[in-house]
Symmetry: C3
Subunit: 399 residues, 3 copies
């Protein structure tokens, strides 16, 4: 089995071996870019980018990637206002037209599951550029590639995730992907912003060691009490934070969206608790990697930018070789030997269950009238009936 | 005479022979696309697309067409908000600048006659991507190409037009073009949505047999009374509809724009009267072609999509080879022997008539102060004084 | 020293010799365009255009220029609404990502000094497409190229600037650039729209002869009184206007923005005073050049368009070869011998002065929190402390 002709909607559409293949080809693309080599893999090929939500990085780096491969791009940057959608056209109809205009398509859409629905109706491969708060698989791939570039490999990493871990589609996919490669994960997120249960469960499935804290201070005090209390005052001040940072390979920060602090007063001080600065950096490993999907608000102090461990701008740049690799693999224009052990997520066989609809109100199946809700059963979670489109966990009503 | 260097503003700018030439070249382009051949007809050529109104299909397929030919595109998708127009610039000035930036231009603009006015001031060829509710010539060409592809030729077709036949620029141009190739036309449109008189007259000029109904039920009842009444109850139920459908080569549907139903209550049932579903399909010929310019609202039941006669998505796709053919012919980069019998619409010689302005309030000549109203005399309609820009029929005041 | 790898933020970043080099290469590009030669200077190179304000001409001509050179473009036309800026990202972060996606960038931004700040953080060359009301260096270069094309050279011109000379970034840069090449300048601007003092001073530095009038009538009456009063009635009517026009090489008009006429009643008649028409044209030299950066409102009567001296549409067209030359020189893909005597503006050595901020409220340093205000000292104006970003003259507080 190869990636040729396939859609990429979820990081779970790829086996571990396929992820490693993407990373390997991205490496080759990266070298070609550094040699300023002119590539012709996609001469005569057309990419269609259709974005129903604002984007700088994702759209731009896909378009650059296609150009660097020798291909051309038709760009539709504000599809919500400038397309037939304004005239009431649905996703399926839109896709059945656009597939005639290109060889491959990248779509971002605000509804959960929308890009999967699009893929259902498309005869050309669709790569998701993000569907609502559900998934953003190419961000996950470039995050993995960043770890590979900065650390040498992606296996068995000790990773801290910090900030809004509830709403970030990026961080969900990354956590699970890292767990698939044997990571140990530490989460630091304020109340109400913790990892959702289904991600916690998925991590458990992969036997991932997971520790969770409410803030950086919480790390410190808990660590102090639990482990270092007897070691005297100096050690106490550094606390467990020091101990933790000495072990972390990767510190991954995400935006704390202030407008979501509805339950309590958000103050500058609060936000300091989910922020990296010179002091934290001083305690971190020499070979640690500081990552962020950008844009940042103030989770990353400017003083961190100059440190060689600050990888976030390099991370954004890696989007180009990673997306080049994906386009080339999916269009079948690079030679890659078929990888073994290929499978999609176990058990994701879509099933219609009469009368059952998805309980996620942002799921595309609740908006686009013609879309048939479909579900799959997760062997690791027999009580769950998961939506085929948005992966939302619905109650099982048939047991 | 060749198409090289000419504007395409109206389907009437092309003779029958020229239309057949476009279709012939589109066929060659279509084959090249299917062979995934890389074309170089337009290497080094630049297309400028400037759209003052939203578009998915038209802009995208022009841009794809240019890329497929080896050319490049500068794209201006929301010219109403992002261009100098916001600073008060008129069409003529805009065009006299943009002609410096490209070899050929595609323009969509909300005013009737606007693209003709643009062409008046441009030294590079302009193709209209639609001017208000006036014309959309490349849609007509791709509609004709669809009939050619699906039926083998475009001559002597028996065609039904169904839906809003008053406001649709698409359907007007198509009706006249089909009449020029000997079509028989049946119209099914609710009161207030019938073909306008000037189109009816144009069809008469081409000796087109035209029949008009108010709804699908109307077809049936009238048919029943007139022809089949005596044949008993079963036959009666099927009625004339059956008789009609057995003869139709093409069923062309358009959106019924609900917001325009001001004169009476619009109900779901009403709309059912201008809709194709499985039942109607079952009565239709095996080689009938179901067409729609898209986007649809609910004129086409989803169940129709699976039928091989449903040509509307293929139709959208044919926009690419047709627009490739047009660009290539107009830029003079394909070999095509000059066609005989070439002429524009008979009598369309623009004339200034002091003191006379066009009575169409959406005509560009009433908005752009520097534009001189011009008129032409139609030999088939001596009472008419037609606007050179929007083809609106003004009263003759000089007779 | 060469232009390779350098930013272009201000016309003052270029020495006279470098300006002449750009013009020379633009000439070669112009010839290649006329021969419809296909160029490959930029094969495999990517241009990123990011515009935070509307633009027709600047963005389009840069994109065409890149295509004509064989390169590709990623276009970001409405960055204020469709980019990460909507999520709160600052200029420095945006640039540190975008530099990964292209080889060269063109940026337009509404804040004064913004493009200089962007350049501070970019590892790829940035060309300013305009920063607020500060500078628009490529417009100045194409204005100079227009004079070269139309008059044969750019040295020692006798130039009139007419219209809004206070707010136009275009006219400021041009005035100073022309002065650097020995121009004599006549200004015609209503009260409140005169050249600002810092431009007047800069012209003085270059020993430019400057004369200023409040309106075309003012030219005439003053001239009459001062010089021609005794010559009788006929001569009196023509007045000094005639005398002036007989000497002018270039008449440069700019938009009088009616909404800025707050201090007094603006009438059609007023605006007539800053407008060129057939009568003025009749008095002008046979080899005069009428220029305007476009779009015009009504400073240029339509009747002027037909005159061979009306150069404004050609002027817009020259943007393509000039921008081709700039891109090619900055990317180092054309052979150009290093020019002698290269220097940036004398004395523009940025200096931080603790506690001092720029007094221009639209200066980027007052908006982007991380930006450190910097100043330079102008040897010609010892009382001035000029902002390194927006060139605003701040009071010297350290003397």
């Amino acid at each position: 089995m190869t990636l040729t002709g396939r859609h990429l909607i979820s990081i779970n559409d790829l086996s571990n071996e396929e992820i490693e293949l993407v990373i390997e080809i991205a490496d080759q693309m990266h070298s070609a870019l550094e040699r300023k080599e002119q590539l012709h893999y996609c001469d005569g090929k057309e990419l269609y980018t259709i974005f129903y939500e604002a984007s700088t990085r994702t759209r731009s780096s896909f378009e650059t990637a296609m150009h660097r491969l020798g291909g051309t791009v038709v760009s539709h940057a504000e599809a919500q206002t400038t397309s037939s959608v304004a005239k009431g056209e649905n996703i399926a109809d839109t896709v059945r037209v656009l597939e005639k205009y290109a060889d491959i398509m990248v779509m971002r859409h605000p509804l959960d599951g929308s890009t999967r629905l699009a893929a259902d109706h498309s005869q050309i491969p669709i790569i998701s550029g993000g569907d609502g708060s559900h998934e953003h698989p190419t961000q996950t791939l470039l995050d993995l590639y960043t770890i590979k570039e900065e650390k040498g490999n992606i296996k068995g990493m000790n990773v801290a995730l910090c900030g809004d871990l509830r709403h970030g589609r990026t961080v969900h996919s990354l956590a699970v992907a890292l767990a698939r490669f044997g990571a140990e994960i530490t989460c630091i997120a304020p109340e109400g912003f913790e990892l959702p249960d289904h991600i916690r469960n998925a991590l458990k499935d992969y036997k991932c060691k997971l520790t969770e804290y409410k803030s950086l201070e919480d790390v410190d005090s808990e660590g102090s009490l639990a482990i270092h209390h007897s070691k005297g005052k100096e050690r106490h001040q550094e606390g467990f934070m020091n101990f933790l940072l000495e072990r972390l390979d990767v510190l991954y920060f995400t935006r704390l969206q202030r407008e979501r602090f509805s339950s309590r007063e958000a103050t500058e001080t609060d936000q300091e608790s989910y922020r990296i600065n010179k002091q934290l950096l001083a305690m971190s490993r020499e070979d640690a990697v500081i990552m962020h999907p950008l844009p940042r608000i103030n989770e990353l102090a400017y003083e961190v930018d100059q440190d060689k461990r600050a990888a976030y701008f390099r991370q954004a740049g890696y989007g180009v070789p990673v997306r080049m690799a994906l386009i080339a693999l999916i269009l079948g224009v690079v030679q890659a030997k078929p990888v073994r052990g290929v499978r999609t997520v176990p058990g994701k066989l879509p099933e219609e269950i009469p009368g059952v609809t998805c309980s996620n109100e942002h799921c595309v199946t609740n908006i686009e009238g013609y879309a048939t809700p479909k579900f799959y059963r997760d062997p690791h979670d027999p009580q769950a009936l998961k939506c085929y489109y948005c992966d939302w966990v619905n109650k099982r009503i048939d047991q």
